[in-house]
Amino acid sequence: MKLKIYVTRIVPQEGIDIIKDKYDVDVWDSEDVIPYEALREKVVGITALFCTISDNIDAGILDAAGPSLKVVATMSVGQHHIDLEECKRRGIQVTNTPDVASDSAAELTVALLLLTTRRLLEGFEAVKNGEWGKWKPMWILGTESLNRTLGIMGMGRVGFGVARRLKPFGVSRIIYYDVTQAAFADDVGAELVSFEELLKESDLLCVCCALTPQTRHIFDKSAFSKMKSSAVLINTSRAALLQQSDLYDALKEGQISAAGLDVTDPEPLPINHPLLSLPNCVILPHLGTNTTDARSNMSINTAMNIRAVLEPLE
C-alpha cells in the first residue's frame, strides 16, 4: 500500500510530479488556505505533510496525523508556523527550502529598496492622477545608493545576496550585524559591527535575519531613535522583527526617512491600516520569492525533501 502524503494547497505541479507516482498524494485543491479543522481531518494516517507558511502545524495537527507521520516539509525557508519542539519530541523530521529561494528573495529585497529610495510609487501615482507635467529638474528627487553605507541585519544567504547586488550601485561601505562573523562577508568587503553601530551608521538598512526569540521586536522605538533621520529601512524577512507601531511613529515623526516592507503584521494588512497612510512607507504583499521559477524550485525541493526522508525508510 502506498504511503500517504497530504499537500495543503495547490502548488507548482513540478513538485507534485516527483511524488505522485510513488506515493498516494492528496492535495487541498484550492489557492486559498485550508481551514484548520479540515486539515485535522485530512492528515489522519499520513506519512508526509507538504505544507506552506500559511498552515499552523501545531500539536493538534500532529496528534491528528498520528504516529505514521515522519516528515513535515514546508515550501518555505521560514519554519515559524511549525511547532519544532513538538516535532522533535515525536521524532518527526522538519525540512525547508533555504537555498533555491535565496536569489529570488535577495532580488526582491533590492527591488523594494530601489522602489523606496527612488520614490517609484509617487511616480506611478503622478502618472495615474495627472500630476505629471512637463519635465522639471527638482521633482520627485530620490536618494542615490552611490556613496551610501549599506547595513545588513543578518549576513545569511539573502543578506549576502543583497550586499552583492547593491555593490555596483556604488555603496561606499557595507556593514553587517550577526551573531557570528560570516566567512563569505569578505567577498563583498562587509565589516562586522555591533547592533548599535549598524543602527547609527547605516544609510540603507536591510533586515535579512531569521525571527527568533532574540530578534523579536528588535527594531523598536529605541532602535529607531539611534538611526539616521535620512535612513531607509527595508524588511523582507518577518514582520515581528519590527515593533510596528513604533515604526509608524518613527516614520511619521521623521526619525527615519522611509521604510519598505514586504512583510507586515498582520498579513494581509487591513486597507485602513495607519501605515498605508504614510507617503514614506512602501508596502508589498509578501511577494518574497515571487517568480515562477523560484516557486517551481521550492515545490521540487519540498518534494525531494520528502523523498529523501521516506526512501531510506522503505
Partner: protein, 355 residues
C-alpha cells in the same frame, strides 16, 4: 610764434588730448560692462546659477514649469548663451530670435534630440550637454524600473490598497527572475554599460548588446555584440539605452516586438521616440511580449486616458531617471561650466560633437 598761434596750438592739443582720453574712457567702460548675458530657461538647482552669475548677467525664468515659447523667443534676444532643458526646442526660429551674438546653448540633459544640431552648426553655435554626471542615477532607476516590471511590484502595491491581498499563495503574482536570464542591451554607451554592471550580480546568465560600434568596456560584463535580430530572439530582457536619432526613431515597432520572445520584458529609459507606441500597446495587449517598463513616452506627460495606462503589464514612470539631488545638482553645474567655457573661448567640459 604769435600768442594767438600758440593758443590755437594749445587748444588743438587740448582737444586732441581730450578726444583721446575720452575715447580711452569709453573703451574702458565697454570692457568693464562687457559681461556676457545668459538666459536660463527654468528654475534649476542653485550651483549652476551661481557659477553663471559670477561672470555673467543672468536672466531666468524662475518657475518650476516651462517658459512659454513666445516669452522664450523674447527673452533670448541679444543673449550670448542659453541654459536650457529638454523641454525647449532649440531650432532655427529660436537661434534667429536670439541674434548673431548667440555663442552657446547648454542643455541640462544628456539627450539633445530637442536641439537642431545642423542649425547650430550653421550659426556657429556650440552645444553643451551633461553625460557622465547622471549615468549612475539613470542606471539605478533603469534597474529599479526593470525589477518593478519583472517582479510585478506595481500590480502588487495596488492589491495592498484595493483589498486584493489575501493570505500567502504559492502561485499569486509570480513574475520573472534575472537569475539565469539573458539580458539584451540596445545601445551599449555609458548608461547601457553601467546598467549591465549593476545587473551582473543578479546572476544574469548572458549579456548581449547591439550597437553601431564595438564597446571595449563590454568585456567587463562579458557582453557579446550581436546583430539586433539575434538580440531580440534570445533576450528575456530587452533594454533600450540608445540615443534618439533619425536612425533610432521608432525602431521598436511591431516587427521588432514580433521578433522578441513571448515572455520578454522591454525597458525604455532613453527617449519615448525610439518606440512606436501604438505597436507597443498592441504587443503588450496581445501577449506578443511579456511586459514593458517605460520612464519615457510620447508625449510627456502621457495623457491620463492613454491606452498604455490600462495595461497591467505596462509600468510607466514620469521621466525621473536622473531625479536625484546629487545628479541634478551636478547636471546644473556642468551645464553652467559648459556655457562659461564657450563664452570664454575655452574648451567645454562636455561639448556635443557636431559633424
Amino acid at each position: 610764434m604769435t600768442s594767438p598761434s600758440l593758443c590755437r596750438l594749445r587748444n588743438f592739443l587740448i582737444r586732441v588730448n581730450t578726444s583721446i582720453s575720452s575715447s580711452c574712457h569709453q573703451n574702458t567702460r565697454k570692457m568693464s560692462s562687457v559681461k556676457p548675458s545668459v538666459y536660463v530657461t527654468r528654475r534649476v538647482p542653485l550651483p549652476g546659477k551661481e557659477i553663471l552669475a559670477s561672470e555673467c548677467n543672468v536672466t531666468q525664468w524662475d518657475q518650476d514649469d516651462p517658459v512659454p515659447r513666445d516669452e522664450l523667443l523674447r527673452q533670448v534676444k541679444g543673449k550670448d548663451g542659453i541654459f536650457c532643458l529638454l523641454t525647449e526646442k532649440i531650432d532655427e526660429e529660436l537661434i534667429l530670435a536670439a541674434g548673431p551674438q548667440l555663442k552657446v546653448v547648454g542643455t541640462m540633459s544628456v539627450g539633445y534630440d530637442h536641439v537642431d544640431l545642423a542649425a547650430c552648426k550653421k550659426h556657429n553655435i556650440k552645444v553643451g550637454f551633461t553625460p557622465g554626471v547622471l549615468t549612475n542615477a539613470v542606471a539605478e532607476l533603469t534597474v529599479a524600473l526593470l525589477l518593478t516590471t519583472s517582479r510585478r511590484l506595481k500590480e502588487a502595491m495596488a492589491e495592498v490598497v484595493n483589498g486584493g491581498w489575501g493570505t500567502w499563495k504559492p502561485l499569486w503574482l509570480c513574475g520573472q527572475g534575472l537569475d539565469g536570464a539573458t539580458v539584451g542591451i540596445v545601445g551599449l554607451g555609458r548608461i547601457g554599460l553601467t546598467v549591465g554592471k549593476c545587473l551582473k550580480p543578479f546572476a544574469v546568465q548572458k549579456f548581449l548588446y547591439s550597437d553601431a560600434f564595438e564597446n571595449p568596456g563590454a568585456a567587463e560584463i562579458g557582453a557579446q555584440r550581436v546583430p539586433l535580430d539575434e538580440l531580440l530572439a534570445n533576450s528575456d530582457f530587452v533594454l533600450a539605452c540608445c540615443a534618439l536619432t533619425p536612425e533610432t526613431k521608432e525602431m521598436f515597432n511591431k516587427d521588432v516586438f514580433k521578433k522578441m520572445k513571448k515572455n520578454a520584458i522591454f525597458i525604455n529609459t532613453s527617449r519615448g521616440g525610439v518606440v512606436q507606441q501604438d505597436d507597443l500597446y498592441d504587443a503588450l495587449k496581445s501577449g506578443e511580449i511579456g511586459a514593458a517598463g517605460l520612464d519615457v513616452t510620447v508625449p510627456e506627460p502621457l495623457p491620463t486616458n492613454s491606452p498604455l495606462l490600462t495595461l497591467n503589464n505596462c509600468v510607466i514612470l514620469p521621466h525621473i531617471a536622473s531625479a536625484t539631488d546629487k545628479s541634478r545638482s551636478s547636471m546644473s553645474e556642468l551645464t553652467a561650466k559648459n556655457i562659461l567655457a564657450a563664452l570664454n573661448g575655452e574648451k567645454m567640459p562636455t561639448e556635443v560633437q557636431i559633424n
